[in-house]
Amino acid sequence: MKNKIKLALCQIAAKREDKAANLTKFEELTMKAKEQGADLAIFPEMSLTGYVLHDQIYELAEPIPGPSVEEVETFAKKAGLHVIFGMPELTTKAKATLYNTSVMVGPSGFVGKYRKMYLPTHSVFEEKRYFRPGYEPAEFQTQIGNIGLTICYDVFFPEVFRLPRLMGAQLIVCISASPAVRKSYFEVLTAARAIENTCYLAYVNLAGMQDGLQFWGGSRLVGPTGDVLAKAKYDVEDFVLCDVDFGDLRTAETFVPTMRDLRPELYDKLKGFSEQI
């Protein structure tokens, strides 16, 4: 496993309902990332299809693995790179049951996936109308490190990040489709999730506008002490390279040892009280 890796934060404005165009962009940026020495290219939530799809989502969702994932596998193998991106997943066990999923592909093919656990259904969001929530945290031990996957609104729920961290993740990737009115929340919460878990957090948001929602971009790499180590432009497409040094986790863990100080017995109380809200 590498101790230092380079990330490419691929902040794109996905073209709605045009998987071919988005896959072309994925490939172009993956090859660019490879040329510039990156190990992992990260694309936003639902960047394969666009985010605001309403009922058209049923036409666009695919199984994972499936045709689009296979295409990503092809250029990930060619580039020798890992790639993470978001898409609507159609379960193979039913005809119209969908998940909002983050997919990880590597040079050897499909690595794994994470199905979003917290589906926003308030304000402008209607995810529970279409998606079934996921139940499993995701952490993958790869050649480039132990990587956890999360998606967007999950960031409001510390346990979704704590779980992959406890499973061994040292870099948690949060892909997102966050509109501008939520910017200040995400800027704080991404730092908080990194600090409390003493791990790296890569946040990659959509840019551009869909159905009046302006995605604010602002993708970033947050270090294990909460420092924003790299940041993409607000609102527009951007491509940012940044470095992760897993050796820094040791320093962070000794400075504020949250992993050491965890109190498992509190989680029982948390479960009990949360059931009684």
Partner: protein, 280 residues
Amino acid sequence: MKLTPSVLDIDFSEAETRICRFIKEYVEKAGASGIVMGLSGGVDSSTIAALASRSVGGDKVKALLMPEKETFSQKDIDDAKTIAKQFQLQTQLCDMTEVLEAFYRGIPAFEPADRICKGNIKARTRMIYLYYYANQQKCIVCGTSDKSETMMGYFTKWGDAAADIAPIIDLYKTQVRKLALHLGIPKELALKPSTPSLWPNQLAESELEIKYETLDLILFGLERFMETKEIAEQLGIELAVVERVKDRLLATEHKRRLPLGPKLGFRTVGNDLRLPRHNY
């Protein structure tokens, strides 16, 4: 699912009951004194005339007949009068010719050869008449849009689709024709070819380039998330025809919604500021 004409069969007695209850309750809860509607002599407005009359009584339904010189048809006027008499509606003849000609003269960029832009003025002028009478008489405007036209975006934005209620908006055109027959509307009128009357000899099916019998089955399939290929195979028609209908459905969504604005605030009108309709 097998796409045959029978999929569009519904219980028209129940549909009548539900629609009439809807109209009656809406008018009562709005505190309105009645209904204003446009009556063209076509199947949609004739059907609304019958339903409105049965809901609140013909004496509380003001039907405006709004002919104008270019598209004038004595047959349509006679048909509208037949319906008004059958369902005992109050009628008002409003010849729009002078108002329209004033618009044509008054718009510096007016181009008479552009029949769509010109035709839309007619549809929007009808809306102005309807709302004038509704405001003056404390009535609501009852729209006559059906599901086929609405899904296809085959209407004038802020024109014929502008109304307070749309009682037959969830019925396809072929269903409206059957409901019309069920309501006792003469067969000749129930099956009369539809026209928006924006220019002379305009016919909906010619302009849409498809028969409503086929269109409604395509739309029915799309409504139920069927794939275009499957719809085309089942109906024995070219895939391109189904794709064209679908493309038009998707392309006209902007006509069916409030205007789009950028999300800036906590809750946004037309997006996530969602309130119950007061009293309804």
